[in-house]
């Protein structure tokens, strides 16, 4: 579904060039959920923005559904770290924003918006303004907005990282539920190991500066997954430990790697 081939990216920084990504090759299969983990500054978000068509790679190619990505596509939607709701629009109108810009069928999408809001537990809040909602509810509304265009690909850039731990887990579980109802290919950027294990079919680990693909780990734990007590606790712990080792520098080498 998504294919990155020898993708590199160089930013023109204040003090010369910054290599954000170096020779990344990665394929995300249809309906797969891949999480990208890595320390801050390893180019996770940059990678996501390239798939979204918001940024062009310095070299290499990015394709979605077999087509070269040149500009944002209607069937790819992007969810940001912050809810990014328009403060003057009600929850419902915020969810319908893409419908207006992309000129989709209003009546049908209105029904769909109500369904989605119901699905994430926001029924009854359609007419509220964003500032009347808690952070978790705002992010739920934002999730509905990114689903309204029925995307084939959903790109999520640390969408739950500004939330408290419990709300965060709640939303992760909801995302799994939504995935069971609707087929979607998801790339999910996070720096939380827990979140990566909970959500992913595969975890792609990136090393920082320049961002290189360090390892890809298959997470073969049955769904639905939770972080609480469950039959697969051993396997969850094992994958988490492996990720931990990959992301945390060895004590000896800590000077240079931070």
């Amino acid at each position: 579904m998504i294919k990155l081939t020898h993708v590199s990216h160089v930013f023109a920084g204040r003090q010369g060039e910054v290599h954000a990504l170096d020779d990344i090759t990665l394929e995300v299969r249809r309906n797969e959920l891949v999480t990208l983990v890595g320390r801050s500054g390893c180019g996770k978000s940059t990678m996501l923005r390239m798939v979204a068509g918001l940024l062009r790679p310095s070299s290499g190619t990015v394709t979605v559904a077999g087509e070269l990505v040149g500009k944002p596509r209607q069937d790819v939607s992007f969810m940001f770290q912050r809810a990014a709701l328009l403060p003057w629009r009600t929850v419902l109108d915020n969810v319908l924003l893409p419908v207006e810009i992309l000129r989709l069928d209003r009546a049908a999408k209105r029904r769909r918006a109500h369904e989605l809001l119901e699905l994430v537990g926001l029924a009854g809040f359609e007419k509220r303004l964003p500032h009347e909602l808690s952070g978790g509810m705002q992010q739920r509304a934002s999730l509905c907005r990114s689903l309204i265009q029925d995307p084939l690909v959903l790109l999520m850039d640390e969408p739950f990282s500004a939330l408290d731990a419990l709300t965060r887990e709640e939303l992760s579980i909801e995302l799994q539920r939504i995935r069971m109802e609707q087929e979607m290919t998801i790339v999910f950027v996070t720096h939380s190991i827990e979140e990566a294990v909970l959500l992913a079919d595969r975890v792609a680990v990136l090393s920082p500066r320049p961002g290189r693909l360090r390892k890809i780990i298959d997470v073969d734990i049955p769904r639905p997954r939770t972080l609480g007590r469950n039959a697969y606790a051993d396997r969850v712990a094992e994958v988490s430990a492996e990720l931990h080792e990959l992301l945390m520098p060895a004590p000896m080498a800590s000077e240079g790697a931070g």
Partner: protein, 265 residues
Amino acid sequence: MTAVPRTRRIGSRATRRLVDWGLPVIALVALVALWWLATIVFSIEKFLVPAPDDVIEAFVGQSGFLLEQTWVTLLETVQGFAVAVVVGISTAMSIASSRLLEKMIYPLLLAVNAVPKIAIAPILVVWLGFGQFPKIVMVFLLCFFPIVISTATGLKSTPAELTELVRSYDASRLQVFFKVRFPYALPQVMVGLKTAISLAVIGAVIAEFVGADAGLGFVIVQSGASADTPLAFAAMALLGVISIVLFYGLNALEKVILPWAEENR
């Protein structure tokens, strides 16, 4: 999962109303009483400081004339302000949309604004005569600058995540502007409008001082010349009323069209 409560203020709506309106009224009444007392205790001459009843007498005696002059000044103020809103907002839009234009126009605006407007007033009379037109121009000149500055600031303060969001839908420049940037700037635009409306009345009076045959500024100059201080005071009070009404009118408009703004800033 709980929503933030809609209201978290203490006391009922009615009590708050009473406090909001009652306290300033008490202060005003006290001040007028003090003024009255001072004129009696120190037996101040009427042409120096008239007592409140002299002012009321002057107002009642010439109410038709005064209201006519009030209308003239109000009209000049509102017309000049309206032109400043239209021209100011469009100028700000072009500044915010193009870096080249911004670099070109901005220093020029600053230079024009640096000239004290009152210095232009006599020249406006030479150019445009004694009618209402030079007054409208003066009001415009005073209002224009704050409107341009705050609108341009508002248009340039769109959060990056909102711009990126609409970019991810491949929105056109026009869509980005009308769906996000302009609405986002509106509270800031209102700040400019409120600053401008207070200056608008000042502009009208300045222009009337310099050369006019009507308006409250003209009344004040005339009554000063004939030592009719109570009439001047009545005219001043009317100017105050115009200012307050226009300002609170804008305030009320803001509450109606931007209910979200108060909670977000």
